[in-house]
């Protein structure tokens, strides 16, 4: 079964500090992995996906198949990064499964 684990419910950092939101997955095949973000009073939206190998709003995520991880990183946190972040996994053609989410709070 597909499973996504986000071990931290809340991550609090100071502005300018590095951020790493952890995500581990359990899947035997080659999954597609995503990070979704929900800002206050906004809809849940896609932040980035591993297949695109892109950097969005300074965030990057590298798929590590050996460690089955897809951690989200940003070198210097900004206050506007405060939001709920969800890691998600999808097998081709199948449902999208989310982790429990991590609240990121960036303090000034």
């Amino acid at each position: 079964a597909q499973r996504v684990t986000q071990p931290e419910k809340l991550l609090s950092v100071f502005k300018g500090a590095p951020v790493e939101l952890k995500c581990n997955y359990s899947y035997s095949g080659s999954p597609e992995l995503f990070w979704y973000v929900q800002y206050s009073r906004q809809r849940l939206q896609l932040l980035l996906r591993h297949i695109s190998r892109e950097s969005i709003k300074g965030f990057t995520a590298d798929l590590n198949k050996g460690e089955t991880s897809f951690h989200l990183k940003k070198p210097f946190a900004q206050e506007e990064d405060s939001a709920m972040y969800y890691c998600a996994l999808q097998e081709y053609g199948n449902k999208l499964v989310f982790g429990a989410g991590t609240i990121l709070r960036v303090k000034s």
Partner: protein, 115 residues
């Protein structure tokens, strides 16, 4: 509008009543998902429709929950004999389907409160 639309935005119902939540996906999207978002529980998968395939109902928490998708477009999530633990935000999402084009677009959600 071009986005996923859900109605109603808020619903307050008495325990034991039935409720119907509606989702209008983005036109042309073959995949449709329902999730439940509760405080401290994250995003819980409920049901997934993909084209004409049989829906994946593995996330429905009990037989009080059901969903249908008519004509491959609009979907309705029905909760019968509502309980207080059903109180949550119910989110609908749609996507173009499996494979590389799998960005899911979410609606604004329906906040259900069972009193």
């Amino acid at each position: 509008g071009a986005g996923v639309s859900q109605s109603p935005s808020n619903k307050v119902t008495e325990k034991g009543k039935d409720v119907e939540l509606r989702c209008d996906p983005i036109s042309g999207h073959t995949a449709l998902y329902w999730y439940r978002q509760s405080l401290g529980q994250g995003l819980e998968f409920l049901i997934y429709f993909q084209g004409n395939s049989a829906p994946d109902k593995s996330g429905l928490p009990s037989d009080r929950f059901s969903a249908e998708r008519t004509g491959g477009s609009v979907s309705t999530l029905t909760i019968q004999r509502t309980q207080q633990e059903d109180s949550a935000v119910y989110l609908c999402a749609s996507s173009l389907g499996g494979g590389l084009r799998t960005e899911a677009f979410f609606g604004q959600g329906t906040r259900l409160t069972v009193v």
